[in-house]
């Protein structure tokens, strides 16, 4: 038994530690269904949401999570990069340290920024990576795993892993922190990961990745019959950089439309981290279908982030955190 201090990468979590967080999140989701959605657990603790990138959804999810645990929450948004802003990450971190932050939830456009913050000695509190560049977004992977487990195991989810679950992750894998964190956590929990993307949006050398790579979505849906299909958002800045010829062509070949929705097996679920580009990577019929978990993911995000903050800040021990 050892305490985890930071959550920087999905790789920080052993299977036991991950399941423990998911189980705590089950309890938190019950709190979120009560009339008074509040626990006193983190009273007197200060959580800072340090956002160098706009992400209203992730920020309010963390904010709500911290508030429901009775922590004091400060939102610090630093628009643009630290360089253009004229204040370095170091100065910002030391400022927060001087103000007595117990945890810093950081979203930053540079891969590795959360690691640098955690290991720099600039700050003593816990660091939660809420998305660093194109590297990782571990709480997204946890909420996705929570959502899969809930759909598959329902009320008997507690204590379960995702052994044997086949997950197809479709789209811009190359630039996706969601894909990287999901890959690591799903492997840890025993799931089987398939990436489906045009070759331009896969890493040129993914040698170490424990995932099967596919170019064709249709073939993957037909041959693999995935339990979970997760669509990734196509970022606007990729569209004019020759990763694919046009939005129409991308949508035709890699979009999840009504026809492809019909190919999914009855029990399959369709996920998307949001925000969706309706009509591009997913169409309205698919997004609004009963297979879609998009809104459950949002709700579960709050429970999972409560569990993460609780685990890091309450002194609760998690087994075998690496």
């Amino acid at each position: 038994m050892s305490q985890i201090k930071h959550l920087l990468s999905a790789a920080d979590l052993s299977a036991e530690a991950a399941i423990e967080i998911l189980d705590i999140a089950e309890g938190m989701s019950n709190v979120n269904e009560r009339e008074i959605k509040k626990l006193p657990t983190l009273r007197g603790k200060t959580v800072v949401n340090l956002f160098f990138e706009d992400s209203t959804r992730t920020r309010i999810s963390f904010e709500l999570a911290a508030k429901r645990l009775s922590a004091d929450v400060i939102n610090f948004s630093a628009k643009g990069s630290s360089v253009s802003k004229g204040e370095s990450l170091k100065d910002t971190a030391q400022t927060l340290e001087a103000m007595g932050a117990d945890a810093v939830v950081i979203r930053h456009p540079a891969s590795g920024a959360a690691n640098v913050l955690a290991h720099s000695g600039w700050i003593g509190g816990s660091i939660v990576n809420a998305g660093d560049g194109t590297h990782e977004h571990p709480t997204q992977a946890l909420l996705d795993a929570f959502t899969m487990r809930k759909r598959i195991h329902g009320a008997s989810s507690t204590g379960k892993n995702l052994a044997g679950v086949k997950v197809a992750i479709v789209g811009d894998v190359l630039h996706s922190r969601v894909a990287r964190s999901n890959l690591l956590l799903l492997n840890t929990l025993g799931a089987e990961v398939h990436f489906v993307a045009p070759p331009t949006l896969l890493p040129a050398n993914p040698a170490n990745w424990q995932a099967k790579l596919h170019y064709s979505l249709d073939e993957t849906l037909a041959s693999e019959k995935p339990d979970v299909v997760m669509m990734l958002r196509v970022q606007g800045e990729r569209m004019n950089a020759s990763y694919f010829p046009s939005e129409r062509e991308y949508s035709r070949i890699w979009g999840l439309n009504a026809d492809r929705l019909a190919l999914l097996k009855d029990s399959a679920i369709l996920m998307h981290p949001g925000p969706m580009n309706r009509g591009l990577e997913i169409d309205a019929v698919a997004a609004d279908s009963s297979k879609s978990t998009v809104l459950e993911q949002v709700a579960n995000g709050v429970s999972v982030r409560m569990a993460v903050l609780f685990t890091l800040l309450s002194g609760e021990r998690v087994s075998d955190a690496s």
Binding site: H108, E136, N208
Partner: protein
């Protein structure tokens, strides 16, 4: 006239044990039983011709917060160097006779090493208009090496013209091989580590494609070309092919590309951020083999000082570059001697004779022989030292801090003057 000094019982690179007598700025005698005003027992030390760095960033003028010609010269002397070539990417850029003469003058004033300014190939390193190469060549600085280092001369027509034009002045173009479009926003080697870390990759092909183009251009116009800091196994293959074909190409490798790999980037510690980036273990093996077999001609440090704030930040925001002058000889010893793969003569070639030849430094890189300038590095090959942050350089961005490396430069003699004695820097340079 009696000798000023006698270095007694030194071992030359060829293994011979001898005395070396120094009178004024020259070697006056080599043999046994030599006498002079002062006899220094050098038993167990290796005497090499003073080391020559073809690729140093001294940062002055313009970036004196990182390094000055004075502090960089001192770091060079501590590393056993008696000459350095100062890269042109200063502010203002070394693209006029005025700037290169100023750099050379500050080098003479410092008095620790010969400072040879490198001239920019293009005005302001902008890659579009040739700088006044003739004016720099004919200036008092007598520039012979031209480079836009830090940037690639990527326009093939400009590169062709530069290769042709420098022939009029006996010059050479030193290319920083980096295809700019393939490396937009690049942060580290493109490979399995970059895929995991989510950092934008700098693919090997971006280096290799430019080298392939430039050796063919050099062949076509009958010029010689020098390739800076090659870092990939593929680059080695292209250079090997070009040399076999008779193309006049020389190539350098840095100490860090001989020792470090992209696995270190997993720490996101920006001290490992460098351009070209640290590559894979296979690439390290390839450049090491090429250094031994002669495909790579020289080790050059690419000493690139940066102030603390340029590295004390997230990876993407950090500057590219690492220190190298004070550790180069030890890494060369590790790679050539301790590995059992080569010998001290090869070490003298790659760190002294060959860089001096490529840079046309007539008074450097000479064999230790009577009448030669007394530029000598004396190395204790049995010493082991753990690298510390303290350095003569103004900057601290060494990737080797905490590592144990073999060998130690005990004395450096620059034109007959001890710039370093018993490991201690002379309080002032040679006047």
């Amino acid at each position: 006239m009696p000798a000023n000094f006698v270095l007694s019982s030194v071992q030359l690179a060829n293994g011979q044990i001898t005395d070396i007598a120094i009178t004024d700025d020259k070697i006056s005698a080599i043999g046994t039983g030599l006498t002079g005003a002062e006899v220094i027992d050098c038993t167990g030390l290796i005497a090499l011709p003073g080391l020559v760095d073809l690729h140093t960033h001294l940062r002055e003028p313009g970036f004196e917060q990182s390094e000055t010609i004075y502090t960089g010269s001192q770091a060079a002397a501590l590393g056993g160097f008696t000459a350095v070539h100062a890269m042109a990417n200063t502010m203002p850029v070394a693209d006029t006779a005025g700037v290169v003469e100023q750099v050379a003058a500050l080098g003479r004033e410092a008095g620790y090493v010969d400072v040879y300014p490198i001239g920019a190939v293009t005005v302001g390193l902008n890659g579009t208009q040739l700088s006044e190469i003739g004016a720099m060549a004919n200036s008092r600085a007598k520039v012979r090496v031209f480079s836009d280092d830090g940037k690639c001369v990527h326009d093939p027509v400009i590169m062709r013209r530069a290769l042709e034009y420098v022939k009029a002045f006996g010059g050479v173009v030193a290319q920083h091989a980096q295809e700019p479009r393939l490396t937009e926003g690049a942060q580290m080697n493109e490979g399995k580590v970059s895929a995991e870390l989510g950092l934008v990759g700098w693919p090997a092909v971006a280096e290799e494609a430019i080298i392939a183009r430039d050796v063919l251009l050099a062949e076509h116009v009958g010029s010689r070309v020098h390739i800076c800091h090659i870092s990939t196994a593929g680059s080695v293959e292209i250079i090997r092919w070009a040399k076999a074909r008779g193309i006049s190409v020389t190539a350098e490798v840095t100490p860090h590309h001989l020792l470090l790999t992209d696995e270190l980037v997993r720490s996101y510690d920006s001290v490992y951020k460098v351009n070209p980036p640290l590559r894979t273990a296979e690439d390290v093996l390839a450049v090491r083999a090429a250094l031994v077999d002669g495909t790579i001609d020289i080790i050059a440090t690419d000493h690139a000082p940066h102030p603390i704030e340029a590295k004390d930040c997230e990876w993407n925001a950090a500057a590219f570059g690492m220190l190298g002058l004070e550790t180069a000889a030890s890494i060369a010893q590790e790679v050539l001697i301790e590995s059992g793969k080569s010998n001290w003569q090869r070490l003298a070639e790659v760190l002294s004779h060959n860089p001096a030849k490529i840079g046309s430094d007539e008074e450097q890189g000479q064999e230790l022989a009577v009448g030669a300038f007394a530029n000598i590095a004396l190395i204790d090959p049995t010493a082991k030292r753990t690298i510390v942050a303290e350095s003569a350089s103004k900057s601290k961005n060494s990737p080797y801090i905490g590592l144990e490396l073999p060998g130690r430069v005990l004395h450096t003699i620059y034109r007959g003057y001890f710039t370093v004695r018993d490991g201690q820097l002379a309080p002032q340079g040679r006047k």
